[in-house]
């Protein structure tokens, strides 16, 4: 064990609005780390800073000591940081299988001509991509729907496919942005088990943003609480629940 991700004074301003205000924390390898906070607290912005989709206004973010701030998103992904999106961003016009295959991009090398003329090496690679993609679809329970357009899937299925797509990257770190949103109680229960299962199976470190408090408290090893872009509390679920600043942020001051 050791620190795998570290944010130091991470900052993001949108004009006059400070979305993430000098946030510092460290994530230990192998833990499930929860990010909670009221709407607009800056949780998704923090994910976007970590994955390079939004450039930081200041501070640094490191993965195993390597600075990710300033790196383009595709390179961060190739380092093994996979993610899902709050407002599901699947490749809607493509099949579930293609969605997963696309995420194998950085783990494969076939170029334009190799792919078009079907060199021996590229055919082998294509077969392994195909096999891996079906395995992942089976893992997320969509093995029989691989050839369907992802746009036709139900909300819960799309969330599962998006996790599958992120897993196809062979990630070391998985960022899940509200994975349980729109799910019913039974589905949330299954999801909790599923997140634990994939962490064990792929040696993942998981960061998740979630509003459903029981799920977060039950699943996460440690939790960071954001409010108006500031980190107001940090610790185990039990510690965070007792923290007066957290209670104030959620329930308001007396």
């Amino acid at each position: 064990m050791g620190v795998i991700l570290e944010a130091r004074a991470l900052q993001r301003n949108f004009g006059g609005l400070v979305a993430v205000d000098s946030v510092s924390f460290a994530v230990e390898e192998g833990e499930i780390f929860g990010l909670i906070g009221p709407n607009g607290a800056g949780k998704s912005t923090l994910f976007n800073l970590m994955t390079g989709l939004t450039p930081a206004s200041g501070g640094t973010f490191t993965f195993r000591g390597e600075t990710l701030t300033g790196m383009p998103p595709h390179r961060i992904a190739a380092l093994g940081i996979g993610r899902t999106f709050q407002n599901i961003r699947l490749f809607k016009g493509l099949t579930a299988l293609e969605n997963v295959k696309i995420a194998r991009h950085s783990r494969t090398v076939t170029g334009l001509l190799g792919g078009v003329f079907g060199s021996g090496k590229s055919r082998m690679e294509e077969l392994s991509v195909e096999k891996k993609a079906w395995e992942i679809l089976a893992l997320v329970g969509l093995a029989d729907r691989g050839t369907e357009l992802s746009d036709n899937f139900s909300y819960g299925e799309q969330r599962r496919l998006e996790i599958g797509r992120a897993l196809a990257l062979d990630p070391t770190v998985l960022l899940l942005d509200e994975p349980a949103a729109g799910m019913n109680a039974a589905e949330k229960q299954t999801l909790t088990g599923f997140i634990r299962e994939i962490r064990a199976r792929f040696n993942l470190t998981v960061l998740l943003i979630e509003h459903h408090v029981p799920l977060v408290m039950g699943l996460c090893d440690r939790i960071a609480v954001l409010n108006f872009g500031e980190l107001i509390a940090f610790g185990s679920p039990a510690e965070v629940q007792k923290n007066p600043a957290v209670i104030e942020a959620y329930l308001g001051a007396e």
Binding site: H74, A77, R89, F91, R104, T110, V116, S122, E126
Partner: protein, 307 residues
């Protein structure tokens, strides 16, 4: 048969040529990039072939190579188009959607005005008497035909390959593609270069076919024609641009008895098709097939008690 080819040979080869130009728009479009630069590269390729075929400087080359000068022209046109596309693509592809389309139209215009004023391109007159590769117009099916077959093979295989998937990912959601490890800039430039190389080779093949080459070959009007082929045929399938080009390029010929009224019909058809067939004809056929399939599946599902 001979008489048919004499009358319609030129039209048939033109349909294949126009299909190829429609496809040169299709490739950038697979990566979500609406580029109208094809006529620019088409014009460039044609000038390269015309100059190599007529300029005194290249006379020893022609004597030494014989007919082999033609494939050399195609190769040089392809390389020149690729280089120019690379140079133009890197800044231009920072723009999105309609802004990219406008920038590529500007590129076509700049190239046209340049060709109109340079000595090497023959100025406003252009280049005349380009030596022929075949005796009849119909003969050119032996250059354009194999090129179309090769392009369709290329497109079909590309669609099922790693690079083709990267293109489609960018088309569907550029931001998500980046988060999945795809370098969007690199693949957008590559898709743009593929389209440019195709247009450049078609231009080099077209110079002898059309016998003369001038600045009117690469105009804004041509950009719009190719775009119409893709819109009407459908831009999400390899067959769409081909079907669109065959239909629209033969339309003026079929409607010839109507004289000038045919231009009106041409325009009306374009409007109707874009309003009622947003995915083009091939897209509409594909949808029909899917609806039929899901109906079939529902019928097999049995008694309707199981939703």
């Amino acid at each position: 048969m001979e008489e048919f080819l004499q009358n319609y040979g030129f039209l048939l080869v033109t349909l294949v040529q126009q299909s190829l130009l429609a496809l040169s728009l299709y490739f950038p479009l697979t990566a979500g990039q609406l580029s109208l630069a094809a006529p620019g590269f088409y014009s460039l390729g044609g000038y390269i072939a015309a100059i190599m075929a007529t300029a005194d400087y290249f006379a020893p080359w022609r004597d030494a190579l014989g007919w082999a000068i033609f494939p050399l022209e195609w190769l040089i046109a392809a390389i020149a188009s690729a280089l120019l596309a690379f140079l133009v693509g890197i800044p231009a592809l920072r723009l999105r959607g309609i802004y990219l389309a406008l920038a590529t139209i500007a590129f076509v215009e700049i190239l046209r005005v340049l060709c109109l004023n340079l000595d090497i391109t023959g100025g406003a007159v252009g280049i005349f008497g380009i030596p022929q590769l075949f005796e009849s117009r119909w003969g050119y099916i032996w250059t354009f035909g194999p090129l179309l077959a090769a392009t369709l093979f290329f497109g079909y295989r590309l669609d099922r390959s790693r690079v083709g998937r990267a293109f489609k990912a960018i088309r569907e959601d550029e931001l998500a593609a980046g988060a999945m490890g795809i370098d969007a800039t690199r693949y957008k430039v590559l898709a743009f270069v593929i389209g440019a190389v195709l247009a450049g080779i078609v231009g080099a093949m077209s110079a002898p076919f059309l016998n003369t080459w001038n600045a009117r070959q690469g105009t804004f009007d041509a950009s719009i024609s190719y775009l119409a082929y893709v819109l009407i045929g459908g831009g999400r399938s390899l067959w769409g641009p081909v079907l669109g080009a065959v239909l629209l390029a033969s339309l003026p010929e079929l409607l010839r008895p109507l004289k000038d009224a045919r231009l009106i019909i041409n325009g009306v058809l374009l409007v109707i098709a874009t309003v009622y067939l947003p995915q083009g004809i091939v897209g509409a056929l594909h949808r029909l097939k899917q609806i039929a399939l899901s109906r079939g599946a529902a019928a097999r599902g049995g008694d309707g008690r199981h939703p």
